[in-house]
């Protein structure tokens, strides 16, 4: 049990490459903390620094109040689950799970007791005397988890533990991991590139890009109030629609329609006029205009021709395209977001594909025009140059907070009432 504090932790390699730049946040005791980002963003490096397998170039890492920068991994009392599982192939499952305890010279009765208990927890009891070579992927994964939990460590560190499993098993194991963490109440740092995993598992999530922590917050904060374009595009599936926009008075001009902004949003946009903007609109901010009951007075309606309909029973997704796209500003981002649907939504040079999630009662049909309503409270505006979210609710006074400050301010900030009251935001983002 321990609180992990990262104080401007930086990793710089011999060739000058900075894998992690001034990571600065606190992982609370007992928290399930997720590091998420596209591959190569430095999240695994950061994890390796926490466990001690990589040296920290500068900055300080404190675990339970003590600086551990120079403590050997074996003395940090942390347990790690590797992406490759890293089970010892020449040992049986029992020997694998007992290994950390044997190294610690624990007596035999205690070792047996703990291994049996962990095996029961992970449903491995009947496999205890088998060799890992004969186990399935999911079983090996559980052995790796078992080896971590027998130690009763200060923290669990997991490096993409589920990414080698097939889709169905992954969902199953996700629940297992979540339940296990809840039951043990041990501080857990979990690395993943899958935003769905991050959103469903994490108490709090840190989004990383190119070695820099973009935002730290609860999944809900990240979804409703992203710090910048990157977080906005990365979090959420289907991805946020990103369209070119212009601000004129209190009206935002989108390619398909001009939307008058509510005062509370407009107030935050001081000085944004005349700048190149990108509007971020979550799919659920659209609705079939004929089905809008509340808030219909605000907002704007427009007609779009539906290209594709995805009906999933409880959900209905419509795809339509609009003239004009923010393609040039987003090309960089699209390349980095390796999630297929995020990239697809960015369209090409002269039109953008937009996804909307509307009421299943809608009569939308492929190839037919449909009148759509857009919720102005849910439009976020980003600076096209810096990517910064100009409509962010908890921006510090100046609206120019550096990433570092944003990161450390984040835990205290709660989403403002306006967002939370919105019925759509209560839906699961995944």
């Amino acid at each position: 049990m321990a609180e992990i504090v990262l104080d401007r932790v930086t990793k710089k390699y011999g060739d000058g490459f900075e894998a992690v730049k001034e990571a600065d946040f606190t992982i609370e005791d007992g928290e399930f903390f997720i590091l998420v980002g596209p591959s190569g963003c430095g999240k695994s490096t950061l994890l390796n620094m926490i466990v001690g397998l990589e040296d920290i170039t500068s900055g300080e890492l404190r675990v339970g109040g003590k600086v551990v920068n120079d403590v050997d991994p074996k003395d940090r009392n942390m347990a790690m689950v590797f992406q490759s599982y890293a089970i010892y192939p020449h040992m049986t499952v029992r020997q694998n799970m007992a290994f950390p305890l044997r190294i610690a010279k624990m007596d035999d009765d205690e070792v047996d007791r703990r291994v049996e208990e962990a095996a029961r927890l992970l449903e491995l009891t009947e496999h205890l005397d088998r060799k890992p070579g004969n186990l399935s992927g999911g079983q090996r994964q559980r052995v790796a988890m078992g080896r971590a939990i027998v130690r009763e460590p200060a923290a669990f560190l997991m490096d993409e533990p589920l990414s080698n499993l097939d889709a169905k098993l992954r969902v199953q194991m996700r629940t297992t991991v979540a339940r296990l963490q809840q039951r043990l109440g041990t501080t857990t740092v979990y690395v993943t590139h899958d935003q769905t995993e991050a959103m469903t598992l994490g108490d709090r999530v840190a989004v990383m890009r190119r070695g820099i922590v973009q935002q730290v917050g609860s999944p809900r904060e990240l979804y409703n109030d992203p710090a910048n374009l990157f977080v906005a595009g990365f979090i959420g599936s289907p991805a946020m629609n990103l369209l070119p926009a212009e601000l004129d008075g209190n009206t935002v001009k989108l390619p398909m329609v001009d939307v008058p902004l509510p005062d509370e949003v407009h107030r935050r946009l001081a000085g944004a006029e005349g700048r190149r903007l990108i509007a971020g609109i979550r799919p659920e901010a659209f609705e079939d205009a004929s089905l809008v009951t509340d808030g219909g007075a605000q907002g704007a309606t427009f007609t779009a021709t539906i290209d594709v309909i995805e009906w999933l029973g409880a959900e209905l997704y419509i795809h339509f395209s609009v003239e004009g796209s923010a393609h040039e500003d987003l090309a960089d981002l699209a390349a980095e977001l390796d999630t297929a649907d995020a990239a697809a939504g960015m369209g090409d040079a002269d039109h953008a594909d937009v996804v909307g999630r509307i009421d299943v009662a809608s009569q939308a049909a492929v190839g037919q025009p449909l009148e759509l309503w857009i919720d102005p409270r849910r439009i976020q505006l980003f600076d096209a140059e810096t990517g910064e979210n100009l409509t962010r609710q908890d921006r510090s006074g100046e609206g120019r907070a550096s990433l570092r400050e944003q990161a450390s301010d984040e835990p205290a900030a709660e989403p403002a009432a306006g967002t939370d009251a919105d019925p759509a935001s209560a839906d699961s983002p995944a």
């Binding site: 466990v51 001690g52 397998l53 050997d72 991994p73 074996k74 003395d75 940090r76 009392n77 942390m78 347990a79 790690m80 590797f82 992406q83 490759s84 599982y85 890293a86 089970i87 010892y88 192939p89 020449h90 290994f99 950390p100 190294i103 610690a104 060799k131 890992p132 070579g133 004969n134 186990l135 992927g137 090996r140 080896r147 130690r151 560190l157 080698n164």
Partner: protein
Amino acid sequence: MRPTTTKDRVFWVAGAAIVIVYALVPVAWIISLSLKPPDKLTDGKFFPRNPTFDNYTKIFDDPQFPAALRNSIGIALIATLLAVTLAMFAAYAIVRLDFPGKKIVLTGALAIAMFPPVSIIGPLFNMWRSLHLFDTWFGLIIPYMTFTLPLAIWTLSAFFREIPWDLDKAARVDGATPFQAFRRIIAPLAAPGVFTSAILVFIFAWNDFLFATALTSTNRARTVPASIAFFTGSSQFDFPAGSIAAASVVVTIPIIIMVLIFQRRIVAGLTSGAVKG
């Protein structure tokens, strides 16, 4: 694939038979010679008429051969143990660490292995005499190690490279010191490589004739291959073919035992199941 016909079968059986005969007839001939009494040695018959173990009792009665056998076993085992242990550490360091001159170490080792041993015999003879290593066990163990280490390092680094690095890391996080991680996780997994190189080193040391004749002078350190060359018959003009044959048979047995023991340990795919897939 087309079904195997009788012609195929005949071809393969005949081929196998030729190889077996080619490889084993000389061995059988030596065994046959060793069982013949001295006056029948040149009778030209493949199967000895009256097999006798006289040659064997004779070589073991002479103090020279048992001493040589003892030297051979001792020297070969110690050389193997030292060479393999050193090679394990060296190979592990080469595979896991990134240090300047890593390539030079590896190519240098290979260059030593290619070096013709006969070219260093002269200097070595003089050095060993002044260092009092001449005619001692260590006087032979050192050159054997020098010439087998490169091969052992290359073999072992190939095996270590196959072991996922995550296993070292996992062991370290599990609380093991680097040495514990090596001894309890990495070394057992590299066992096939260890045994492979052990066999190679042992055979080299066991069969060496060059160093053994040049760097020894008495029964103190002379090994079997050198000792056989010093066998004498009952008179100066008597060629001790029977004794040589018997000694050759005896000296082959430990090698066969070694290979049979270690062969069972050289099982591929020991690392399967460590990581995904």
